[in-house]
Amino acid sequence: MAKKQYSMVIDLHACVGCAACDIACKRENNVPADFAWSNHIIQTEGTFPNVKYRHIPTMCNHCSNAPCVANCPTTAMHKTEDGLTMLDADKCIGCRACQLACPYGVIYFNEHEPHQDTPADKAPVIPGCTATLEEVRAKTGVPLPYYNPARAETIPGVRPKGVAEKCTMCDHRLAKGDMPACVEACPAGARIFGDMNDPQSDPRKALDKHAPSVLRPEKGTRPNVLYIREF
């Protein structure tokens, strides 16, 4: 057993579907425009007036039996001692086997160089309407495109063309004793994070009260992102 098993319990009853987690993750991890390390499923069921609406936050489940790790030919995708599934960009050959192997669609592949969607410095996004990047930079003093240098502490701050990327459970923040960005950003306290091997941890306490579910249990991946209480 891993020394620690970092896990996240998501309380679907508490979640209000605001997607603050998705945005916080993008900001924290310099996630490209089209990618969503922190994502969500929207499920509507039934016919009016008997309808059901679900907002299910998703992310890498850091599976204990991770098929992405088993299928990676270079061990770029690997498990850490803390039970996280991590991707070493230096070893990644961009074969996309992990993407095919993951049953949850949470891995993204960089087909292009980073910042493809960032408009050139001198051209406004909407001509005659918005400011240019250069003008915004000068007025605000903020480097653009937005970049969080802290992300580069453990993996490339922005991932290069030709490699895969996915949620790291904010390992760079965990190293400093901080919570993952999505946990911190959640206004409803729906994301409960901690070491599942510690009986006193918050996720363990949450599971003592409520029976958990996981996505696609039939795949046998043993996810470490668990869901409690349906709304």
Binding site: D34, F35, A36, N39, H40, I41, I42, Q43, T44, E45, G46, T47, R54, I56, T58, P67, A70, N71, C72, P73, T74, T75, A76, K91, C92, I93, G94, C95, R96, A97, Q99, L100, A101, C102, P103, Y104, G105, V106, I107, Y108, F109, N110, E111, K161, G162, V163, A164, S213, L215, R216, P217, E218, K219, G220, Y227, E230
Partner: protein
């Protein structure tokens, strides 16, 4: 009950025609190498020229497949990392390590077929040594898709069997076809001697080919049964695959690649009895072309059809 699921992820296909072509060429290359070695063992240098064709085809096919799959990779020149980082659980690791080795071995083996040496002990031994390597590369191509649990269309036993049988049929077909063309271009129908003798001796090969095609047909039927009457996700995967590449699979993979060759095979047998040798050669050429065409489209249909993501359900 109406259920709508919205889940925006990076859309596929993650693996495209280049991977299908690698599976096809790599498999045919493995089949060609085994064909050369077995023919050499069986007839002791009698069919030098066809063995030479097969021996040269092997590295050409395997090398082209490897090149194509590398073109598909984000960072192809990092493939050497497979040699320094071991992950035997990954079929791609086996492919990354053993396919280049087989390529080199098959090339050396082909070089040993230069000249007119009917028998060459070194060549025979090298051929024998290459057999396990070819089997590993064949198994890699066969298992690449089937070990991916997330893709129910691929994750079945018959997928592996169908792929392995495909190597045998396409391997034999590509050698026969290229050899017939070579003989035609050389201005003779058969440089092994009289075409009648060649065809008679090749009877065993034809019978193997027919048996392989019949087995393939049976395997496809089992595969279809296991999905059609399997778990809900298997049925969904089959329905999705049918929508994406059903016509390609049924018409080109099964119709052109299996049924027509079997019909033509029966005609070839009848023509053989009637001693229409030249016509028979034409029929064999056509049969082999159809097997190859169907073999590629079968792989492409399965590759594309199996990648579509199924709805992710949450169960409480």
């Amino acid at each position: 009950m109406n259920t709508e699921i919205i889940y925006e992820i990076q859309s596929g296909p993650y693996w495209d025609w280049r991977v299908a072509l690698d599976l096809f060429l790599g498999g045919a290359g493995v089949g060609a190498l085994l064909f050369a070695v077995l023919l050499d063992e069986r007839f002791k240098g009698k069919y030098q020229r066809i063995c030479r064709t097969a021996a040269w085809l092997a590295p050409l096919l395997v090398g082209s497949g490897l090149l194509l799959v590398m073109l598909k990779m984000g960072r192809p020149f990092h493939l050497f990392l497979a040699y320094t980082n071991f992950n035997p659980a990954s079929p791609l690791w086996w492919g990354g390590v053993f396919q280049p080795l087989m390529l080199v071995g098959a090339f050396v083996y082909a070089m040993k077929w230069r000249g007119d040496h009917a028998q060459d002990a070194g060549r025979t031994w090298l051929g024998r040594l290459l057999v396990p390597l070819a089997v590993i590369v064949g198994a890699y191509h066969g298992m690449l898709l089937s070990v991916i649990v997330a893709r129910p269309l691929w994750n079945t036993g018959p997928t592996v069997v169908a792929a392995m049988l495909g190597f045998a049929s396409t391997g034999i077909a590509v050698v026969m076809l290229v050899h017939l063309i070579r003989m035609k271009l050389a201005g003779r129908l058969a440089d092994e001697g009289h075409v009648a003798h060649f065809l008679d001796d090749m009877l065993v090969v034809r019978n193997i080919l027919v048996a392989v095609l019949l087995l393939q047909l049976g395997t496809f039927f089992l595969w279809w049964l296991s999905l059609k009457f399997g778990a809900l996700q298997d049925q969904q995967a089959l329905a999705v695959a049918n929508e994406i590449s059903g016509p390609m699979f049924w018409w080109l993979g099964i119709g052109v690649g299996l049924i027509l060759p079997l019909v033509l095979g029966a005609i070839a047998v009848w023509l053989g009895e009637a001693a229409h040798r030249r016509l028979q050669v034409g029929v064999i050429g056509l049969t082999c072309s159809l097997i190859l065409l169907g073999g590629f489209f079968f792989r492409l249909a399965v590759l594309l059809g199996g990648q579509e993501d199924l709805p992710v359900n949450i169960t409480f």
